[in-house]
Amino acid sequence: MTWWNIYRQGLLVGIADLRQFWTLRSWFFAWLVRVLTNAFAWVLLGRVAGSEDKVHYLLVGHAVAAGASAALWASNATTWSRWDGTHPLLVIAPGSLLAAVIGRTSVWLLNGMATSLMSFIVLFAAFGVVPQPSAALASLGVVLLVCTSAFGFALWTGAWLSNRGRFRNIALDLSSMILVAICGVSVPVEFWPRPVQWIANAIPMTHGLAAIRLILGHGAHGSIAWQIALEVAVASGWLLLSLLTMTRLFNGGRADGSIELV
């Protein structure tokens, strides 16, 4: 169980990272305030557009996107061992580097899920939307999947950013913006040109969000299952790609000297 021990130690480091950003109180009154006011503005845009359907569409989209965007912070977290100076030490240690990195970054997956859960609760209450309990529960299960998918994507981007740390915040913001723009959060995926749709279908959240909309809208079980299966495939793909990329780049750093870059 060495892999598990390393993961666990990494997770403890990740929790310490999280504490650098928030206490429990500031998570609620600073982080969540930011997320919710942002989401409120987008949902209200539906009223500016003069459509309650649009309001509902944006409500669901941004409640899910809040969690996915939060999980994307894992991309930044993959670069922090560079800033700590522990990256070379991790590379040359006999234990699994991947376990350490995933352990440290997975706390952001948890943050994503918690953010999405609170977004659902507050936004739905604020706009008077009351879903059926079974639909709500099922949706939250898919939210977990969406956040995992985003987490995998974040690990992959983080691997590429690990020796280009100065671009990490730009990459995080742009990733988040892309998800919100093209994954069906604000407008249907079909609104965008075909090439953009292909990209949307291959990145996190698109299928998971479609599944959640179907669940809340009492859509056909077959369609729901199909969208969930697609999201599982996307999540698996990005997780696998991130593991392969991290392995190649981190170990390759010893050959090209990037092991020492910050």
Binding site: L44, R47, V48, R166, V187
Partner: protein
């Protein structure tokens, strides 16, 4: 606060910030990440068959770009200086640290105005919408006043953030409520009634209204009041920032925490 507030100090600090920003692409992050908001917001409106409301999306992107240059980039200055241990050296110099900050922050928020052009171009290229600036003088004056007000606000926030350890927490937290209250994306008439009286105290409120007016063919009313309000609110924040900065520096000199190590 002791320290010389001279042209030489202001120009030297401004020049230094311009040089620094040229090397640090990270400082220009809002210019890269905020204008795409225009894409998303205009897409919502176009999809709803309300393309004529596209100026709302453009205005949001423009103001958020300037706002983020002030809130994210400029507000980090004191925190970063403590971290890099250059704050001690500036404080020990004859220059007024307030003057140094003012100059550096003004450079950054002024750069935020570039977001206006970027956002306009994005909307044009992606949606084929040519958003006419019917009152360009008003638009330019509003952008200038907004960047000054953003600088004044950043002077306050950078001093406040410097005292706290969780700078990112608060830095991330304040922009959402300010944009919502200021009606940056959605006019304040859509906010709950109990929130609306607070809006005029946020300079974004006046800036958003004026920019939308500048994009409208209708005659503009209350431009002078709007511009004066933006500048007054910015000046108020700047004055408050002066007091907070003075107290902050004294506190840090007393506690020995001018540097973070």
């Amino acid at each position: 606060m002791s320290g010389r507030f001279s042209t030489r100090v202001l120009l030297g600090a401004a020049r230094m910030q311009a040089r620094l920003t040229r090397q640090k692409i990270e400082d220009l992050r809002p210019l890269l990440t905020m204008p795409p908001i225009a894409l998303v917001s205009v897409a919502v409106l176009v999809h709803a068959g309300k393309a004529q409301l596209a100026p709302y999306g453009l205005v949001a992107a423009v103001l958020m770009t300037v706002g983020q240059m002030g809130n994210f980039v400029a507000s980090e200055i004191v925190f970063m200086e403590r971290n890099e241990q250059t704050l001690e050296l500036v404080v020990a110099s004859p220059a007024s640290y307030y003057a140094v900050l003012l100059a550096r922050i003004l450079v950054l928020t002024s750069l935020g105005v570039i977001g206006a052009l970027e956002s306009w171009l994005l909307v044009r290229i992606c949606f084929g919408l040519h958003l006419t600036v019917h009152h360009p003088g008003l638009a330019l004056a509003t952008l200038a006043a907004t960047s000054v007000a953003a600088a004044g606000t950043a002077l306050l926030t950078t001093a406040l953030f410097a005292l706290g350890n969780q700078v990112r927490t608060f830095q991330n937290a304040i922009n959402g409520p300010l944009y919502l209250l200021g009606g940056v994306l959605v006019p304040t008439s859509f906010l709950p009634a109990w929130l609306q009286p607070l809006s005029p105290f946020v300079f974004f409120y006046w800036a958003a209204n004026l920019l939308r007016a500048a994009l409208s063919s209708a005659e503009v009313q209350g431009a002078a009041v709007g511009l004066a309000s933006i500048l007054a609110l910015g000046a108020g924040a700047a004055l408050l920032g002066y007091g907070v900065l003075q107290r902050m520096l004294t506190r840090l000199r007393r506690s020995g925490a001018l540097g973070l190590t």
